[in-house]
């Protein structure tokens, strides 16, 4: 068994926190897990990604074309990971958009990701999810990652359960923050389940 998750975003968004949360939940599920982190040059504002690899694997680097699930906490950062995707990969794209200064310097605006998704065609399943809104509903936008993870849990065969994630959350957070993360996970799961029911939403299998 092998299941590879990539979380991509921008420094400061909680990419490493979400990856660690999934890795801890995986450990609770009794499975082997390895995770890579790249702490690059900038504290905030640069591209950041982590790989969470579950099952019979040693290296923390996901081979090209081997990701089962990609969560883009920031829109274009999710797309940047497409080299790791295959025809069965589910790419969840959060609603958060952060324009790189590279574009502003050239007087350009943020690209249209929906157009980009069309260019990808049917080769990867791409779903846009308003994680910010779901998290806001739960109490804070900071929990967008948890909401997206909830959606992924409902839609894909991640080998961890809702209970695993909730107990990993309980170890990491407390009080109000914990409560809103529990809620964000739940809202995300409900939303994911609805998406699954929708006739125009393709049903991803999660199997490589």
């Amino acid at each position: 068994m092998e299941y590879n998750i990539i979380i991509a975003g921008v420094g400061g968004q909680g990419v490493v926190t979400l990856g660690s949360l999934i890795a801890e939940a995986t450990m609770d599920a009794g499975l082997n897990v390895v995770m890579s982190e790249i702490h690059g040059l900038s504290q905030r504002g640069g591209s950041v990604s982590v790989d969470v690899r579950i099952g019979d694997v040693r290296s923390p680097i996901t081979p090209d074309g081997s990701a089962n699930l990609i969560i883009g906490l920031e829109g274009m950062e999710g797309f940047r990971m497409l080299g790791k995707a295959n025809a069965d990969t589910l790419l969840l794209v959060n609603s958060r958009r952060m324009t790189p200064v590279y574009l502003g310097i050239r007087g350009k605006e943020y690209p249209d990701l929906k157009e980009m998704a069309k260019a990808v065609g049917g080769t990867v399943r791409i779903l846009f999810i308003d994680g910010e809104n779901l998290a806001r509903e739960a109490g804070s936008e900071r929990a967008a990652g948890t909401a997206l993870l909830g959606a992924a849990l409902a839609m894909h065969e991640i080998p961890v359960s809702e209970n695993n994630v909730n107990s990993a959350l309980s170890r990491r957070f407390s009080g109000k923050i914990l409560a809103l993360n529990h809620k964000a996970l739940d809202l995300g799961m409900r939303y994911g389940a609805q998406l699954l029911k929708g006739s125009n939403v393709p049903v991803p299998t999660g199997k490589p």
């Binding site: 040059l41 040693r58 497409l82």
Partner: protein, 627 residues
């Protein structure tokens, strides 16, 4: 329980998800280490971040030294006084400490001493990808290399034991993918903690004058032969068999992980000799391993370090095995080894059936996101003002000499204010030469921590030689890039206790610079004139740009529950684009043809609202939810 507490208090048998560097900190705790010293550097920094949090309660001493050389000397002083000690740093940090390291092998130690080097294949956050295994050969010190967080913890304890057996320091080498790999780690028991007070090292016991070293050289050879015996016997070097074991592989470190994944996913019949003790290597074991395989692959990142040794053994013993590695072009010499890299290299010799993959074309449409200074970073204001001051001063040949820190990002757009950048302290050292030997005026940028680390001797040199240089000390009151560690400019030490605080101004003044000013870069209208005056000064002049790191400031502001934010008054905005093209804060972008400030990213520093950035006064203080 917080992760730091788990590192300290975790019970034997408990399984915890740990970063490689956190596991190393746990190894230090289990080994009952008494003294740890470092200078922060990616990918080693989290070892110190963890030890810093638990030192006081754990009953050991931890310091963030002024630089790696001093860190190594402090650890050495503990080890010759009978205290188990640990010095750790990034790979290039060991260059700084190398002078001390070389002689520790001659001096020897009384208690275990481990020196960790965290190498950075693929240069994720470093200026080079030097292979520090060569330091083991150069210094004649043993070297241990883990592949996983579990091994990182376990092997560190073994390294202390070997160090004590041999009475010499042991090198411990990780790479980015080991230090920054997170995986389950089973905790072990903690050894009994000894008294922290060291004892007298002994009369003339650790002197390396020539007359002493000529004798200790022989003792060093004895230690190395003893180390060779350990390497032959230790399970740090182990053999693993996959399938029919047809092909032989010799590997180590992170490459081992990727190699095993490739062996399994392609069902390759393989015997793998994993070298966990890479100096001295187990020569006899390698010789018999070579004899049992017709085809041998040496799979290692960076230089052909093991391969050269393996080839020497084959030649000396007359073993006809076909050895494949970097020297015959099978494997690349550069960058880290992912499973993809290894699979590609093995595809031809092992006739692997690999599906060709092409990167999706859409990847080329995604704009790059190079690392950027944070919203609110004072360095942005400093670069903006210095660039403008240089233009206003009429100087037409300025050379920018930069240094290691967050402010290295000044080399990127829109500032591009770095012509030279070598290593820690090079802004002043290279600046000293450039300001003396060329007709340009040098503007040197150095951070507070880097100034203390390696800048001071070079500043002395610049003043003494009459170099023409304006030094800008970008003092953000922290060692920011590696994660906000302390430095000598601050009034607390690595364990959070009050400490003596050095004054950057007093140090600079004492060298006799032509002019010295201190100004706040957030206040462009006073900061820019200070830079202008400094540029007009003869010889060496200095401006201390003092404003705390935005991340530290955020924490303070959040505690108080305030978070000011700035907004664009589109009626006043003339779309001159200065704020996006020349100031380039990540919080400011163009949306629907208008300038917009992202309220979640805005740090409220207010520099963009100053007329020098927005001459139309269109950026104004606002509320979080609209004007």
């Amino acid at each position: 329980m917080k992760i730091y507490d788990r590192v300290l208090d975790g019970l034997p048998g408990e399984k915890t998800l740990l970063l490689g560097n956190e596991a190393i900190a746990r190894g230090f705790v289990e080994a009952a280490g008494g003294v740890a010293a470092t200078y922060p550097g990616t990918p080693s920094s989290e070892v110190g971040d963890t030890l810093s949090e638990i030192a006081a309660r754990g009953g050991f001493y931890f310091e963030i030294s002024v630089n790696e050389k001093v860190a190594l000397e402090v650890a050495y002083s503990a080890a010759i006084s009978g205290i188990r000690s640990f010095a750790f740093m990034k790979h290039v940090g060991l260059n700084v400490a190398a002078d001390a390291l070389m002689s520790t092998a001659y001096s020897g130690v009384r208690a275990g001493m481990v020196v960790m080097t965290a190498d950075d294949p693929s240069m994720f956050s470093s200026q080079n990808e030097q292979d520090n295994r060569h330091y083991a050969e150069l210094s004649h010190l043993p070297m241990i290399e883990p592949s996983t967080p579990q091994e990182a913890k376990d092997y560190l304890i073994r390294a202390f034991e070997i160090s004590e057996k041999l009475a010499m320091p042991v090198l411990f080498r990780t790479t980015t993918r080991v230090s920054h790999m997170r995986a389950p780690v089973v905790m072990g028991p903690k050894e009994d903690r000894l008294a922290l007070m060291g004892t007298y090292p002994g009369h003339l016991a650790h002197v390396t004058l020539p007359s002493y070293s000529i004798k200790s050289r022989k003792a060093l050879s004895m230690r190395i032969s003893h180390a060779e015996v350990i390497s032959q016997q230790t399970d740090l070097n182990r053999l693993e068999v996959y399938g029919d074991g047809e092909y032989g592989f010799i590997t180590s470190g992170s490459a081992y992980n990727s190699l095993v994944d490739v062996i399994k996913s392609n069902s390759i019949g393989a015997e793998v000799l994993k070298v966990g003790m890479s100096n001295p290597i187990p020569e006899n074991r390698i010789a018999s391993f070579l004899m049992s395989h017709e085809y041998m692959f040496v799979v290692e990142e960076l230089d052909p370090y093991l391969e050269q040794k393996v080839r020497v053994i084959a030649q000396r013993e007359g073993i006809p095995a076909l050895i494949h590695g970097k020297l015959d072009g099978t494997f690349p010499e550069e960058y880290e080894y992912s499973a993809d890299v290894i699979e590609k290299a093995l595809a031809a010799p092992l006739k692997l059936n690999i599906k060709p993959r092409t990167a999706p074309a859409v990847l080329q449409q995604i704009p790059p996101r190079p690392p950027a200074l944070c919203p609110g970073c004072p360095h942005r204001a400093t670069y903006y003002a210095v660039k403008r001051a240089v233009r206003m001063s009429g100087l037409n040949n300025v050379t920018y000499s930069s240094d290691i820190g967050c402010y290295s990002l000044g080399a990127y757009e829109p500032f591009e204010m770095a012509d030279v950048l070598l290593e820690m302290g090079s802004s002043l050292g290279a600046g000293s030469g450039l300001g003396k030997l060329t007709d340009s005026r040098v503007v040197a940028f150095v951070g507070d921590s880097t100034f203390f680390h390696a800048g001071i001797p070079a500043l002395i040199n610049a003043v003494r030689t009459g170099s023409r240089m304006t030094l800008v000390v970008m003092d953000n009151s922290t060692t920011a890039m590696t994660g906000q560690q302390t430095n000598p400019g601050l009034a607390y030490d690595g364990m959070g206790n009050p400490s003596a605080q050095m004054s950057i101004e007093e140090i600079i003044r004492s060298t006799g610079v032509g002019s010295l000013e201190t100004a706040d870069p957030y206040d462009l209208k006073t900061f820019l004139p200070a830079v202008l005056r400094s540029l007009k000064s003869e010889g060496v002049s200095a401006v201390v740009a003092r404003r705390e790191c935005a991340i530290l400031r955020d924490r303070e502001i959040r505690k108080k529950g305030q978070m000011p934010v700035y907004v664009v008054d589109t009626k006043k905005c003339a779309l001159c684009m200065n704020c996006v093209t020349n100031f380039s804060c990540p919080a400011i972008d163009i949306k629907g043809g208008q300038i917009a400030i992202d309220p979640d990213l805005c740090d409220g520093c207010g520099v963009c609202a100053e007329p020098m950035v927005c001459p139309f006064r269109a950026i104004v203080s606002g509320e979080r939810n609209g004007i």
